[in-house]
Amino acid sequence: MTAVEKRKLVSKIVLSLSSLSAALGLFFLFWILYVLVSNGLDALNWNVFAFEGAPPGYEESGLKQALVGQLILVGVASLIGVPLGVLAGTYLSEYGQRSKLAETIRDISDIMMSAPSIVIGAFVYAIVVAPMGHFSGWAGVTALTIMMIPIILRTTDDMLHLVPSTLREAAFALGAPKYKVILQVVYRGAKAGVLTGILLGVARIAGETAPLLFTSFNDNFMNTDLNEPMASLTVTMYNYATSPYEDWQKLGWAAAFILSMFILSINILGRIILLKKKGK
């Protein structure tokens, strides 16, 4: 066998191994999707959206409280987390730059991003739930916000960093003060990236169960008061799926399906924003 033939053989072996791995990965992905969609669609009907939770065996039982609770928890967490994350990311990229403080913040938020989410739940339990004496929507919001900030902070930092420094200099050279350079030139240049980062941050916290389990806890009935325990799709899904009742298990599938579709559409929206930007 010549050297060239040998290289071709090795190339073929590597190619088939990597193709096989890709096929295996895709196989499981589509299997999950198939099971999710078939069970989810099977369980999905108008009642799911129209009714609150009910004891097993009741016809009129649904996920209304969990849908509303999920939207409130994720919505309020985003209202707090997005501005904080974007502003902190702006500080890192535009003011802190390579300073020691900025680098320390970057390192800490990288560590926070990889922290197990249940640990953040436990932390919030200790600082919010225990002093208040009961579970509450605010505790859940706190946990989700803590998870969200480092994600948005780091993507904002990275995306602003991608704006060429010559563009900033050009604005300064026209006599622009720094805050106007950031607001009018840097943000504009990084708009698509920052927006995508925000969406990915929202999608990430929308799928979290562990930080909510012992913070916002759960509620089988409709509650919009953040001072009280609040239902979420994820915790409801966990409770229903692990229950012995078949109709509750079905609702669990419906919750799983709705949640996945929600997160999938946020991700697709993020892709579309990025593609539009590139297409220009």
Partner: protein
């Protein structure tokens, strides 16, 4: 030892004993530069890479101040004041001394908004005034014919040469006294380069121009005065035709005859 020619015209700027050191650098990048800049003329700065020509250029609008830790010593006199003084209002200074960069720096906004950017910074809100001044600037930068019909289009859709002329329009819209060009054609094709060079020659009616270039032919074509820099020193400043034909300094002669650089 440096040969600095007398500038007979009125002076736009005068550099006196300027020493500049980058943050953390062991030695200064500009060493006691003395240099007059003639008004309403083009002064070119030439020299090998790393000689300090861009460093000098960026001192005129205090661009170095965007990054911490650099130090200036000496003076740059502009309109009777030392602009290196810590009290200098940098925002005002930069509206008086504009800058064009090596790569076109069109902002991610419409053509109109790009040119209006500096005007709006100065608080001009009147729509007719904005329109008139944007139009005048675009005409002044010889790009009105190409973009006059599509001012609302994204500026990043323009070609490199058009973007560079747009940046010139943006800079002249605020009516500066001095324009700094930092290798403005090094990213452009020959035809766009010619357009920019013609523009530079036209613009000196209204502004004083300092242009950094690594292209000696370009310096010879567009400038009235040429300064040759080497390792942080201004070796020679002369009238362009004299400096290229009969240089005084041996180093200048070696550089322009291609012995190094």
């Amino acid at each position: 030892m440096a040969t600095i020619v007398e500038v007979t015209e009125e002076k736009a700027l005068e550099v006196k004993n300027l020493t500049f050191t980058y943050a953390g650098a062991p030695a200064p990048s500009l060493k006691k530069i003395n240099m007059p800049i003639a008004k309403n003329s083009v002064t070119a700065l030439i020299g090998p890479s790393g000689c300090g020509k861009t460093t000098l250029l960026r001192s005129f609008n205090r661009m170095h101040d965007l990054y911490p830790g650099h130090t200036y010593e000496g003076e740059i006199v502009f309109e009777g004041r030392n602009i290196l003084s810590p009290k200098e209002d940098l925002i005002k200074l930069r509206t008086q001394i504009g800058m064009i960069f090596q790569k076109p720096t069109a902002f991610p906004m419409s053509i109109f908004d790009n040119v209006a950017y500096g005007l709006r910074l100065q608080g001009i809100k009147n729509k007719t005034e904005l329109r008139d001044r944007v139009e005048a600037a675009l005409k002044g930068a010889a790009i009105w014919k190409e973009v006059g019909e599509r001012l609302k289009d994204d500026a990043n859709g323009l070609s490199g040469g058009q973007q560079q002329r747009l940046c010139i329009a943006r800079a002249i819209a605020v009516e500066p006294e001095v324009l700094l060009f930092d290798e403005p054609t090094s990213a452009l094709d020959p035809i766009s380069t010619q357009g920019i060079e013609e523009l530079v020659t036209e613009l000196k009616e209204r502004v004083s121009i300092i242009i950094v270039t690594h292209n000696m032919q370009q310096a010879a074509r567009v400038s009235d005065y040429t300064g040759f820099m080497y390792m942080g020193d201004l070796i020679e400043l002369g009238r362009t035709e004299d400096l290229f034909v009969t240089p005084t300094e041996k180093l200048t002669e070696e550089y322009i005859s291609g012995k190094f650089g």
